[in-house]
């Protein structure tokens, strides 16, 4: 049925391999551990998948290898930091009803939002700073993306890929140093709303004994969020005229241009969209790991590996590879595995990338001849 | 004696039969043209000869040896050189360096680690390269970057690079495609001169009938992946099957 070399074959192989892998793992460590690790893998993979999706969008539409994409993720995270700092801007007022230990009236910091919305609403708003940052981050990220594309990337369409890598690498350094200058080098804790700070008893939810599979709420939310974002991007590309033109442009840029469609402007907007996806991924990531200035670079290296494993230029490939590698990574971190193969969790992603690149040069779902100069 | 012998070659791409039972034999020291309408499988056939593609079935013998399963550089070392449709030269290098590379390849084989010797001391290679550049009448351009030359000059250089290897068989893939009339005529003269003066067999794929009939001693007409006729130019000109293949069923 399947011709060798089509994305379908690799999908079939991947699916078969996954099923075999899960059966094996269930036999080895039991259902509970497998479920827990899969959950963990999906939430880890969410960030990879979203960043890789944006990278692929940019690569597929503009043909640019964007080493500054991790920096966009980081800027997104710092949008959340900025908003929560902004919301907690306070004035000092004297609270007559209370006294400090010397008997003087107590000075307390009252955030301005409390003045505007009242105490209870104000506290809630501050508590929900991270989700609120999504609204703030969308316009900021789209703007950043468009400025980046018009101001810099545009001039590199005709330059070799090596130049694109180098200039965006330089840009990434500049962006992260700017963030470091204003926000310092230390991680800035940015908690999730208190409603989501606990853990979900996932086992009990699906009818198993309670307390077997417990997983933090926010990570589950992160996965759901990623699924929604990815779904939205695909739906956008699939069902809107804009998306159709962009997909056509990804397939054959020149022909689309010959049709008299201004593809460049759409591609600029695509860049903005990709930046927004990365930024939103960054916003929602802040409660999982406190953001610092080099988080983007840390993710970028892995995300590139993800993109290459998925197949350069393939959107489904990027998403698939993101989740797959996330799952593999969390399985590799299990005690049972580490006892047999010490250190495997540190290298599993790279190892898989090397094997895939050597056996399936175009990645899991890549098209022929992309980026092989 | 046939220097190139293609027997029962088949090649499929998915559902498309690109080549079906192709038989072809090229006589030594002749100019053999392969013509046919677009999509007839000319380029596929050529790629099967030089190792870029491997036929599904059949055999390709060059000078009594099979070329199948060999890499392009190995086939080249056997004595087959190829000129591409768009000139493939070393654009970042000077014309002189371009010309020296095939001479090194001829002398040293596919790989040699001559990392300490100075290129400037390779007097023999330099002399050979100079004389070939003289023959191509581009010695005055020897210090130019190859990419900076005109298309016609690039084509001359590429042909010269192939000749510098002293191949037994020279394959040309539409060497005059996209060329102005004057450049085309220059190329025809050059190829004529090559086939007259050097011991080189030439196989040429061409669209331009003017070029084909000025050069070829034998012509194979390919249509839909199968050879229709093989004959001398005079016979081909009036052949009804050829007219049909080119002008469509109704002719």
């Amino acid at each position: 049925m399947f011709k060798s070399g089509t994305p379908l074959t690799s999908l079939a192989i991947t699916a078969g391999g996954l099923i075999g892998f899960f059966v094996l793992m269930i036999g080895l460590v039991g259902v509970n551990a497998v479920l827990l690790q899969t959950l963990d893998g999906l939430s880890k993979g969410s960030a990879y998948a979203m960043i890789a999706l944006g990278l692929t969008l940019i690569f597929g539409t503009l043909g640019v290898v964007n080493f500054a994409h991790g920096a966009l993720f980081m800027i997104g995270a710092f949008c959340a930091v900025t908003l929560s700092k902004f919301l907690t801007l306070s004035k000092e007022v004297v609270d007559e009803s209370k006294t400090d230990f010397l008997g003087n009236p107590l000075k307390v910091n009252v955030p301005y939002v409390n003045d505007l919305f009242g105490e209870a609403t104000g506290a809630t708003i501050i508590d929900w700073a991270v989700p609120l940052s999504l609204l703030f981050a969308i316009p900021v990220m789209i703007l950043v993306g468009i400025v980046m594309e018009r101001g810099l990337i545009k001039h590199f369409y005709k330059r070799p890929h090596a130049d694109q890598i180098l200039v965006t690498f330089g840009l990434a350094i500049v962006l992260q140093e700017i963030i470091k200058f204003y926000y310092g080098a230390n991680p800035i804790p940015t908690p999730a709303p208190s409603a989501f700070s606990g853990s979900l008893d996932f086992g009990a939810l699906i009818g198993m004994d309670p307390n077997l599979i417990i997983y933090p709420y926010w990570r589950i939310i992160y996965f759901v969020f990623a699924a929604l974002i990815i779904g939205a991007v695909f739906a956008f590309l699939q069902f809107t005229t804009f998306g159709m033109v962009v997909r056509a442009g990804m397939a054959d840029r020149e022909t689309v241009q010959l049709l008299g469609i201004n593809i460049d402007r759409r591609f600029t907007l695509m860049f903005g969209l990709a930046a927004a996806v990365a930024g939103l991924a960054g916003v929602m990531y802040t409660p999982i790991n406190s953001p610092n200035y080099h988080m983007g670079m840390d993710f970028l290296v892995l995300s590139f590996v993800v993109v290459v494993v998925g197949g350069m230029g393939s959107l489904p490939g990027a998403v698939l590879a993101g989740f797959l590698l996330g799952i593999l990574e969390s399985f590799a971190s299990m005690r049972e595995i580490l006892d047999v193969l010490p250190g495997i969790n540190q290298i599993i992603i790279y190892l898989v990338a090397i094997i895939i690149l050597l056996t399936r040069p175009r990645g899991l779902m890549g098209k022929k001849g992309v980026m092989e100069e | 004696m046939a220097i190139l012998e293609v027997k029962n070659v088949n090649k499929r791409f998915g559902g498309l039969q690109a080549l079906g039972d192709v038989n072809l034999s090229v006589e030594e020291n002749s100019v053999h043209a392969i013509i046919g309408p677009n999509g007839a499988g000319k380029s596929t056939l050529l790629n099967c000869l030089v190792g870029k593609l491997t036929p599904d079935t059949g055999s390709v013998m060059f000078d009594g040896q099979s070329v199948l399963g060999r890499k392009p550089y190995e086939i080249n070392q056997m004595g087959i050189s190829r000129v591409f449709q768009t000139p493939e030269i070393f654009g970042d290098l000077t014309v002189m360096e371009n010309m020296m590379i095939p001479i090194f390849a001829k002398r040293d084989g596919a790989f040699r680690m001559h990392a300490i010797e100075s290129t400037a001391n390779e007097k023999g290679v330099i002399e050979q390269a100079e004389s070939m550049l003289e023959d191509m009448s581009m010695i005055d351009k020897q210090h130019m970057h190859a990419a900076a030359m005109s298309r016609g000059d690039k084509r001359r250089l590429e042909i010269g690079m192939c000749l510098a290897q002293e191949p037994r068989l020279l394959l040309l893939d539409e060497p005059t495609a996209g060329m102005a009339r004057a450049d085309t005529n220059n190329t025809i003269d050059l190829l004529k001169q090559i086939s007259d003066e050097r011991n080189i067999t030439i196989a040429i794929i061409e669209h331009d009938m003017h070029v084909v009939f000025s050069l070829a001693q034998r012509i194979t007409v390919l249509a839909q992946g199968t050879p229709l006729v093989e004959d001398t130019p005079d016979k081909i000109k009036g052949h009804p099957k050829v007219r049909e293949a080119y002008l469509g069923e109704s002719a």
Binding site: H155, H161, A162, I165, L166, V167, F169, G170, L171, A172, I173, V174, E177, I178, K180, F181, A185, V301, F304, V305, V308, M312, P342, G343, Q346, I347, A353, I354, M371, E372 | V50, P72, Y73, N76, F84, E88, I89, F90, G91, D92, L93, E97, M100, I101, F104, D108, A110, F111, R112, M113, H114, A115, I116, E117, S118, T119, A120, N121, M161, Q165
Partner: protein
Amino acid sequence: MFGLNKKDFNLFLIVIALTMLAPFILNPFPAGSGMAQFNAGYPDLMQRFVIFGIFAIGFNILFGLTGYLSFGHAAFLGVGSYGAIWMMKLVTLNVIPAIIMGVIVSGVFALAIGFISLRRSGIYFSILTLAFAQMSYALAYSVLTPITGGETGLQIKPTDRPIFSNLEEGEIGRANLFGLDMRSSYELEVGNWAFTFNTGYYIAAIVMILAFYLSIRIFRSPFGTMLRAVKSNQTRMNYTGLNARPYTLAAFVISGMYAGLAGGLLVAMDTQVGPERMFWTASGEVVLMTILGGASTLIGPVLGAGLIKYMENILSKINKDILHQWFAFLPDGIEDFLVTIVYPFIGKGWHLTLGIIFMAVVIFLPGGLVEGGKRFMDFVKRKKSKTPPSDESAQSTPAE
């Protein structure tokens, strides 16, 4: 001379002169003066100049000639360092066997990694080398701790008793060259100036001169021409009867051995090594050095390495107080304003300056500092040779 043409020979002489006189050239300001902080003529930094120069020269043999962009070259530097330090810990404190060991180990390592990575080209090659380097780093950091010392790395300890050494009880071994201590220095004071001549630096400098000489020979050899042919057009290469793979692999291994040489020298100077030497940012740094100076030029990588190491060590030391001193002659308001503007670019922010310079080079000067120098010289020459009428001079400006 030495098999070099006149131009290359002159360049070689300049490099020899610069490296041998570096203690003078890099210390132009009198000690104790306000400008003394810009002096780079102290042994530690000078050693880094030449050692990272070697690293970049080697990287350029791969990237500059073949166009293969390796993003994992620091792995070879690290592996070479580990090889060298084990040689010192176990066999002898003489630096020559240690350096040779570093070169051999990284050469073998490069052969293995290159053999696999070079099956792909373009960005796939870059990602493969990056993946291998990150794996090496992760392993050196964790599982391979018995060999690599893990996070703390390896140093020469009082308990280390190399076979060929006659250390006294409890004496910590020191790197030497046939008894000549790497850390020994001769101080020369001329008036207010102080110059330091350090054994380690001169040994590293001589090695760099040799490495530079070898790279000129490679650039000018038929092998070098073949490597440039790989970069230019692999299709034509294949159809000219040349097998590109062994050429690129040879370049990769040579380049890896250069990295190992640099790694071995680093160990010879400070007798320690840690896994962070293999982290991908270190690989990125050598890319920056090479591009900044000028890829595929002979001298470019050395200049780039020097510039980056200078910025890392000198620019990063400038702080707010020093800025205030500089701008003290200005009215207070302007002084504060200027300090505020400049401050983000110096001290801990030196990476920002580096990033901006690097971007500017990639955008406007793809040939790096060397091309910049060339354009400047052309400009000066044109001015000198004639003072043309204004319309002509406008025309002669390169339209780029």
